[in-house]
């Protein structure tokens, strides 16, 4: 907040991004009435939740940490973190928030509230709980994916695209999951890059169907992905070499 001009530019950009997402789906629904059985207001709730989760990742993980990781590794600039008696993975990937992103969650919450009010459908307390549980699992999976991709920076020198790659993959979470319901796409987005658990499945649990299989799968994948990422990180960080004398 010290640099007010920059802060307002960052905020403007984040709001423009949200505006672009809404506009995009407005254009889609200007041409069709439903997408794989999802109405505009259901998609609006999905976009809102996706914005909240995405901005959380941008604000806590990406801007001040993962985005800069390949360059910091190349410059041998992570020594100060390694000598601290703290977990290196959490210390190198989690940061103080990028304020503009945290504020940008507000329109996401608004879209969720607006979408919900227009759907006009009673939702049970249990469905809300399941939806929150799956969202937490989705965030865990998303964190594991982002950190997993970024940790490859220890192998590929100055590969600045790696953190971006994880963020780009998360964008698949903005589509309703039935669009990935066939063949290879289903395998890819349900099991390999399960970004459908970030927003689409939680939205579906609220308004479309209570599918116990999704809940079990979400919890299992969260545990599995986190375990793999911790293992991957601890192996790859051994390749780091300091640049100082």
């Amino acid at each position: 907040m010290i640099y007010r001009t920059s802060f307002f530019i960052e905020l403007l950009v984040e709001i423009l991004y949200i505006g672009w997402l809404i506009f995009y789906f407005k254009v889609v629904f200007g041409n069709v009435s439903t997408v794989s059985g999802w109405t505009f207001h259901e998609v609006l709730f999905l976009i809102g939740l996706n914005i909240v989760v995405f901005e959380f990742f941008v604000g806590i993980l990406y801007v001040w940490r993962l985005r800069l990781l390949p360059e910091r590794i190349k410059n041998g600039d992570v020594d100060t973190i390694l000598v601290k008696p703290l977990n290196t993975m959490f210390n190198l990937t989690l940061s103080s928030p990028y304020v503009a992103s945290i504020i940008s969650m507000i329109p996401g919450f608004y879209l969720m509230a607006y979408g919900w009010s227009q759907i006009n459908q009673p939702v049970s307390f249990m469905n809300i709980l399941w939806s929150i549980l799956v969202t937490i699992c989705g965030i865990t999976i998303g964190y594991a994916l982002l950190v997993g991709f970024s940790s490859l920076s220890f192998v590929f020198t100055n590969a600045k695209f790696l953190p971006d790659l994880g963020m780009d993959l998360l964008e698949y979470g903005q589509n309703p999951h039935p669009v990935y319901s066939t063949g290879l796409l289903r395998f890819a987005f349900y099991f390999v890059f399960p970004v459908i658990f970030l927003a689409s499945i939680p939205t579906s649990l609220l308004f479309k169907e209570t599918n116990g299989w999704f809940i079990v799968l979400a919890v299992s994948l969260a545990v599995l992905f986190m375990t793999i990422t911790i293992e991957l990180w601890s192996r790859l960080i051994k390749r780091y070499s300091s640049a100082s004398s």
Partner: protein, 265 residues
């Protein structure tokens, strides 16, 4: 001229050194294309045409977007803006060359390297698409006209990006600039959807802006929606916008460099 060719050679070699970034760029573009394509393919399961576009035309449109982007995109503001922010501009100022020409050579070198790697892949992809749909939408004439606009679009984008870069003299974070451009091109340039998907009012508005020259107009030529009769007017329009961007970029440079200060031991 010799010194600028030297810069070109240096950056070309540097591109070779970090080849993994090119692979990353290709994967990134494919992911971006896939997010949109998957949604539209689903929509076409229940619709014959959307905005006058058939499935095959829509697929060609979105497949060609990243290729056009490789020619017209310029990502200078992120790197050079950071150098201004970190006070590293001084090393450029003390050298006997014009920074904007050096930057142009830098962008050109990276672009030529990228294109030489990506072009064969794209030719294979288009042949594959034609075989899959058993139809071809692209003509040699359309592709050449589209490429001509792409080159002009690249020059326009370079000066636009240069103007954005100089904004770093007044701000302390440049990351948002790149994000800002992605959004602008997503909507106003035709990356997210062809203008035909929009309402007539929005189409008219978007046609007034320069961003269409970076994606939508070249794609229209390639897909045969725009003929050679539009070429003179389009090139004239693009030239006017290049003139405007050059004026803005140079005015910002003059003001910014006076304000610039680097402090060190």
């Amino acid at each position: 001229m010799q010194k600028y060719l030297g810069i070109f050679r240096n950056y070309f070699s540097s591109s070779l050194e970090y080849r993994s970034n090119l692979i990353g760029l290709i994967i990134k573009e494919m992911i971006g294309m896939g997010v949109i394509l998957v949604l539209w393919v689903t929509i076409y399961q229940s619709e014959e045409t959307v905005g006058g576009y058939s499935l095959i035309k829509t697929v060609h449109y979105y497949v060609l977007v990243p290729f056009i982007g490789i020619i017209t995109q310029v990502q200078l503001s992120n790197e050079l803006g950071k150098e201004i922010k970190d006070g590293l501009l001084s090393s450029h100022l003390t050298k006997p060359y014009k920074l904007w020409i050096g930057s142009f050579m830098r962008v050109l070198a990276e672009k030529i390297f990228t294109l030489s790697m990506v072009l064969p892949l794209y030719i294979l992809l288009i042949i594959g698409l034609d075989r899959f749909f058993d139809a071809s939408l692209l003509s040699m004439r359309g592709v050449l006209l589209g490429l001509m606009i792409c080159l002009a679009g690249f020059i326009l984008h370079f000066f636009l990006d240069l103007a954005i870069t100089w904004l770093a003299f007044w701000t302390d974070d440049v990351w948002s600039f790149k994000h800002f451009k992605d959004i602008i091109f997503g909507v106003l340039g035709g990356v997210s959807f062809p203008f035909e998907f929009l309402t007539p009012g929005l189409q008219a508005l978007f046609h007034l802006l320069p961003f269409k020259f970076m994606y939508y107009i070249p794609l229209s030529y390639m897909l045969g929606d725009r003929g050679a009769d539009h070429l003179v007017m389009d090139l004239l329009g693009i030239t006017v916008w290049i003139g405007i961007m050059i004026s803005i970029a140079f005015a910002l440079w003059q003001m910014g460099v006076r304000k610039y200060g680097a402090y060190g031991g």
